[in-house]
Symmetry: C2
Subunit: 225 residues, 2 copies
DNA sequence: CTATGTGAAACGGTTCACAGCA
DNA sequence: TGCTGTGAACCGTTTCACATAG
């Protein structure tokens, strides 16, 4: 079974491959894909091993076939309905983001406590009252949810989601969620991420620990080896 | 020097400690902090070693002192100005998010190409024309930027930021950025993260590879060991 | 006893380096 | 000569397990 890091990169490879194909290039070498993704060529080859696909030493990989293969491993068979909890500023940005770019994922329902927002349809997605959460989640066969509510409400909402069988949560809350082991949670704590960036920006340090003393960016305008 | 994983967790610990303190509890044990953060107690103790702080076996850690110590390691000495490139829906959500919760980080300038948005002041932050990027970044002493623009524009904007000495980027774009090695980039590719969550939600698989067959959440309502 | 601090072992992920092949 | 596929080495991180202290 595929490990999380591998999945993450495969998904990224796929997007790159789609762009590559759209540029009219049908084949790609591991080092080309690696350069686009910011990883090593060996990493790319290892990851591709994981989806049981083989390229040719002479011609590299067939982009279309590889996209197909990755899709077979990571995609849902049909369109997958996503629930969005919290239709505030961030929530609306997420609706716009996902329901524009059409993949297999679609935010089919949003939920909010603010009566101002309830009932509205934005970005092709209806906003329901928080009270209707269980009913709509079941009716729409939602198994994956995005949590974009204030941190104080996070665990309570999560408990309600768990009770109706949700098994994946993308958590934009700074709160750590307690869930049973078969439920997958991906935390995106934007605040702490920005603090981390600011830290490394300030210390001019490679995150692997090597101190760099360059101050101006005029020297090496390309990526690390 | 602190490694990225450690930094990330220290920042999370700090928020938990602040809440803990706000609840009127002055001291905390490693296992308590671990439970809140979703990591092991040993992990917490290792991380705390990294900030050169020692607790007492009898009384655990002093929350206030530990917050202080973490701050000394990861915070800027004064308030740190952040630039936001792209004042669209996501950009505005980020402004609201950061300039409400007051830490040491502050988004002091936003940039956009849309003349509709330029000149406006939202969430205590002025939106400048994209053309003024270099001038404002220099004047405001910005060294860290948030990139919330369409993927096609990402590398071009990044090159302009690098030219004026930016050394940290929080990248919400799906594009991999090419930067010199002393510049730190944190990628938050929301689309690919959601695809990953949907994948693990569907397969009911522990991301470490252990297949779980539970379908309903009624069995174990608490966190993994 | 229960908690911390920490050397040492275990683990997982990445990279190396080379065999095999067009 | 390039490339791919892959066993083996490497390296950073996490966990274990125990010495130490109240």
């Amino acid at each position: 079974m595929l490990r999380h890091r591998v999945i993450q990169r495969l998904i990224i490879y796929r997007r790159i491959l789609q762009d590559w194909l759209a540029d009219g290039r049908p084949r790609i070498y591991s080092h080309e894909l690696a350069a686009q993704a910011g990883v090593t060529a060996a990493q790319v080859r290892r990851d591709i091993m994981a989806v049981d696909y083989a390229g040719s030493p002479a011609r590299g990989y067939d982009a279309a076939e590889l996209i197909e293969r990755i899709g077979a491993m990571v995609d849902a068979p049909e369109t997958e309905p996503i629930g969005l909890i919290g239709a505030g500023q961030l929530g609306q940005a997420l609706m716009a983001h996902f329901n524009r770019h059409a993949g297999k994922l679609r935010i089919v329902a949003a939920f909010d406590t603010d009566p101002e927002r309830v009932g509205r349809v934005r970005h092709g997605c209806r906003c329901y009252a928080a009270d209707d959460l269980e009913e709509v989640v079941i009716k729409e066969h939602i198994h994956t949810a995005i949590l974009a509510v204030p941190g104080e409400a996070a665990q309570a909402v999560t408990d309600r989601l768990l009770a109706v069988g949700i098994s994946g949560i993308l958590n934009f809350t700074p709160t750590h969620l307690h869930v049973p082991p078969h439920v997958y949670v991906e935390n995106v704590d934007i605040g702490s991420l920005l603090e981390k960036v600011a830290y490394f920006a300030r210390s001019h340090v490679d995150p692997k620990g090597v101190v760099q003393c360059a101050v101006n960016a005029t020297t090496s305008p390309s990526a690390p080896a």
